[in-house]
Subunit: 268 residues, 2 copies
Amino acid sequence: MIAEPQQRPADWCDNAAVMTEPDFRNVAVVLVNTSHPGNIGASARAMKNMGLSRLVLVQPKEFPSGVAVGRAASAVDVLEQAQVVKSLGEAIADCGLVIGASARSRSIPWPLLTPEQCARRALAETGRHRVALVFGREDTGLSNEELQLCHYHVRIPANSGYSSLNLAAAVLIVCYELYKAAMPEDDDGAGTVEREWDQELATGEDVERFYEHLERVLVAVDFHDPGNPRHLMQRIRRLFGRIRIDVMEMNILRGMLTHIEKNLKDRG
Amino acid sequence: MIAEPQQRPADWCDNAAVMTEPDFRNVAVVLVNTSHPGNIGASARAMKNMGLSRLVLVQPKEFPSGVAVGRAASAVDVLEQAQVVKSLGEAIADCGLVIGASARSRSIPWPLLTPEQCARRALAETGRHRVALVFGREDTGLSNEELQLCHYHVRIPANSGYSSLNLAAAVLIVCYELYKAAMPEDDDGAGTVEREWDQELATGEDVERFYEHLERVLVAVDFHDPGNPRHLMQRIRRLFGRIRIDVMEMNILRGMLTHIEKNLKDRG
């Protein structure tokens, strides 16, 4: 997740964006014999979404193409800079690491990576040499000969009942895992609630005073009998404990209680 | 990665496939006010690829649609079973957990999940109640009102320079993370080479005997002088250690050495 810089001068902001994004200039997406230009455009968009820009097309059926431009949306620059070559050999001639997408087991098993492993491998080597991520035809994928030009194969986990992904979908997932691997988050399972929240969280002490205040009010309105508590306060703690109450919400809750008390007193 | 059952009777095979795939019948993908029917079709395909089948459409601009059917490929069944409703409220009425895709920070921050966190949360609750994954319009996403109907928001990490994903691309990534979370792999970083290889790996003892054999041959051909080793054998160990040599490859290597030795003797 990219935290968007807030209220900074525009020039500084732009530099910051360039600095924090990963550098994938050494990583090429190679599409072999693509039939549908729409898939080339959609792949370009998926690449740019994930910070990649080097697209190499091996004998595309139709390119350049208006359909490709339409599907590329704001990634037309990726299409314009795309390199068109005659063979996969030519496409990967300057690459030190070649990983090919493979939909199914071949006659000769090859070192097979998950998309995450593919991302880690590519990321580890991209500083040393060019890396190619190779995707085959819409209908038949890469040929056995082409697969044997790859150092590794990558297979996208999918439903065994229908594992045939659209070409641009496969490009997206491989690029997405690469982007994720390059932009690690501290994913501690607690969610990003705290980091992106607009208010400070209430302190434990604040929350305790709230429980005390709430209990007083519940007693005052005869909802709660401390002599026969029926786990009420525990249940309330469990309820509020699940939300991380922020300072403003705490002020609201305490304000409500104070107003309830005041009204009870006025009427009493 | 789903290991494909091999050489099993077809009926048993089908049952096995059903048993091992995750059960996402309680998870709905809700698309709000989709403009382009192609995106509905592509979303259906992405869903089915990742094992989901419940599609709910809130006031789609054009549906049913031949374009949607074309892009759905073999996921036409998902389109045919899709439910069309009038409002997001209606779509999520029976859902106990609602997670909405959000492209950017809103005026009121909301608990924000990464796609992985979204997947874990959905998976944890899908046994208890229905779960909705909600995606907004192609151009403007979900409105603030719609976002506030969600318990959580999910944001897909993307290049800050162009973070606008195609609708079906966003659906794919959220569903892909859900599928991955439901089908955990033992990803120990060692790759899946061993598991999916067609040959047993050579044992450490075999490899040691190979090194001894190789050293003998290298000495015999005056390439290697044990009195002045220059780290040669270490370098060779490092080289072969990086490949996990399988039994057949080991036979080949040992065979090569034996043949070299035999020829040296015959000539000597």
